[in-house]
Amino acid sequence: MAELLRVSGLQTHYTSFGGSRVIKAVDKINFTLREGETIGLVGESGCGKTTTCLSVVGLLPPAARIVGGSIEFDGEELTRKSPREMRRIRGRRIAMILQDPMASLNPLFSIYTQVAEPAFYHQRVRGRSLRERVRQLLRAVRIPSPEVRMREYPHQMSGGMRQRVVGAIAMAGGPKLIIADEPTTNLDVTIQAQYLDVLKDIQQETGVALIFVTHNLGIVARMCDRMAVMYAGKIVEQGSVRDLFRGARHPYTRALLGSMPKLGSKEPLYAIAGQPPNLARLPPGCAFHPRCAHAMPRCREQEPTDRLITMDWTARCWLLDQPAQESYASATA
């Protein structure tokens, strides 16, 4: 399938007032996304997942700036677009779903108005067909009795229903890419499962590509084709979800997978020592070395670079450079 999004060497920095301190929230990351594909962006809080997404949609806060790299979407370079041009892309071709549906819905407008807005502006749908379109969208996200529901206001709906409305709004412009930033964190388990099913169905019907930002590896296992693991602003490992769950190469990915409790197993969890680093005071060399169980002297001095494992699988770790693969296997066993 055709490539939809190519992010290469993207650097997004936050600068403090006066420019004395620079925080490299996103530091030279590369990833691509094909049409209809789902990629999971995984990592702990503050690792740069959300900043990556905001860079793509051009909604960075004033203190942040893209200082290098490129974001190629559907054949167009997004980093050089004016805010006006970006506004025409957002909502129509790239849509976003955020964590808190109450914050993304306007309490003063009816569901109908809010779902109709993108279709009205971006697709110039009017009149009766606009109403039909809204009904269709609400049906697509499985909102029961859409005709009644679209006259209601956000406060009349439950959290799960609100998040579905946000999904309907995202679909309303007919996007090719949806960025979902922790969309189910506030939802109950069964509601979450229903919502994920809805997203999967929509994807199968429309072929939209998804970027799923999450810290929940279970969601990645269930929803994504590929995953990129971020640590301190860098992608430390990326590849197909199957490959990474079967035999991740980077110690951080392995540790994350090991720290995930598994249903029906009482095996002790692998706990990563220490805590995620402060981006303003990153350790030299590999940013993960202070927490890594296999750190070598070299990790403290030199930053590792991406190593290709298969065509579609990269990891950045000095262990992969060890002459014999056995030594790595024994080190991580």
Binding site: E44, T190, A193, V241, S259, K262, L263, K266, A271, Q275
Partner: protein, 322 residues
């Protein structure tokens, strides 16, 4: 079989719903907790799972004496908690502690960590200043923090460290039961694993019991010995943790486990068979409260409320199917 540490006997908590501003007529009851019984043994972890609004937190508030039950009893060490007065009540409050979900709002930003941990000790014991400081250092070390951090303020710590401080405070008074109300839900994956391991280790060394309330199945199942599944104020199934994971019986418990996220992409998951959302506790369905969403509902389910009965040793279900 040791005597249970805590025993809930058909515990109920109804909240009145009033109408209007002036007359405040009672127009109904929210049956937040409606006939809950379970026991927690010494040194055991009981997991309590269910979706929001099912009464998990009200149950914990009843145990912590923040609410008085409408009916039913709580027994601690065989004694009815409602009848405790004076010294005995203080002892209960000392031995039952709580850790909340959000370590950012559960620690006072104006108090030093040492004072936060020492506060329950000042209330419950007459230790000297030096002995207090010693005990604070001791519990800080128990939860894996440096004792000299006691002079810092909460804002100087990360989320995981704050949760350790909250656990240290809960442990300080030689606690026998800690209610962990979503205590690890707000933490990052790697930190969550640290805290969970720490909790298990503390249980082994101190023999403390936990009531672990959560909504993430894998987390609750991992830490608990037994699990109680709650739906609309009632316990629908209670079983050994591993047994419940492999063989959930109640249709709601089965739905919960179907909805659970896989731990591996190759894991097959069935499609969720239940639809809709938890109904309001203000107007719960007649008969079995789950019947409007249940794929196996029979005519009987709408009329008769099922009683929880043992179907296997240590495994009880409230469902007409069994």
């Amino acid at each position: 079989m040791p005597a249970p540490l805590l025993e809930l006997q058909s515990l109920q908590k109804y909240f009145p719903v009033r109408s209007g501003a002036l007359l405040r007529r009672k127009i109904g009851w929210v049956k937040a907790v409606d006939g809950v019984d379970f026991t927690i043994n010494p040194g055991e972890t009981l997991g309590l799972i269910g979706e929001s609004g099912c009464g998990k937190t009200t149950t914990s508030k009843l145990i912590l004496l923040q609410e008085t039950p409408t009916a039913g009893a709580i027994r601690f060490d065989g004694e009815d908690v409602a009848s405790l007065r004076g010294q005995d009540l203080m002892r209960y409050r000392r031995e039952v502690q709580v850790v909340f979900q959000d370590p950012y709002s559960s620690l006072s930003p104006r108090m030093r960590v040492g004072n936060i941990i020492a506060e329950p000790l000042e209330i419950h014991t007459d230790l000297s200043r030096a002995a207090l400081a010693e005990r604070v250092a001791e519990v800080l070390e128990l939860v894996g923090l440096q004792p000299d951090l006691a002079r810092l303020f909460p804002h100087e710590f990360s989320g995981g460290q704050r949760q350790r401080i909250a656990i240290a405070r809960a442990l300080a008074t030689h606690t026998r039961l800690i209610v962990l109300d979503e205590a690890v839900s707000a933490l990052d994956v790697s930190i969550r694993a640290q805290i969970m391991n720490q909790l298990e280790e503390l249980q082994q060394t101190l023999g403390v019991s936990y009531l672990f309330i959560g909504h993430d199945l894998a987390t609750v199942a991992h830490i608990s010995d037994r699990i109680a599944v709650m739906y609309l104020g009632q316990i629908v199934e209670l079983a050994d943790s591993l047994e419940l994971c492999t063989k959930p019986l109640h249709p709601y418990a089965r739905a919960l486990f179907t909805a659970a996220l896989p731990s591996h992409p190759d894991e097959r998951h069935g499609r969720l068979t239940i639809t809709g959302e938890v109904p309001s506790a203000l107007n719960p369905p007649s008969g079995c409260r789950f019947h409007p969403r249940c794929p196996h509902a029979m005519p009987r389910c709408a009329i008769e409320s099922p009683v929880r009965k043992e179907v296997a040793p240590q495994h009880s279900v409230a469902c007409h199917l069994y």
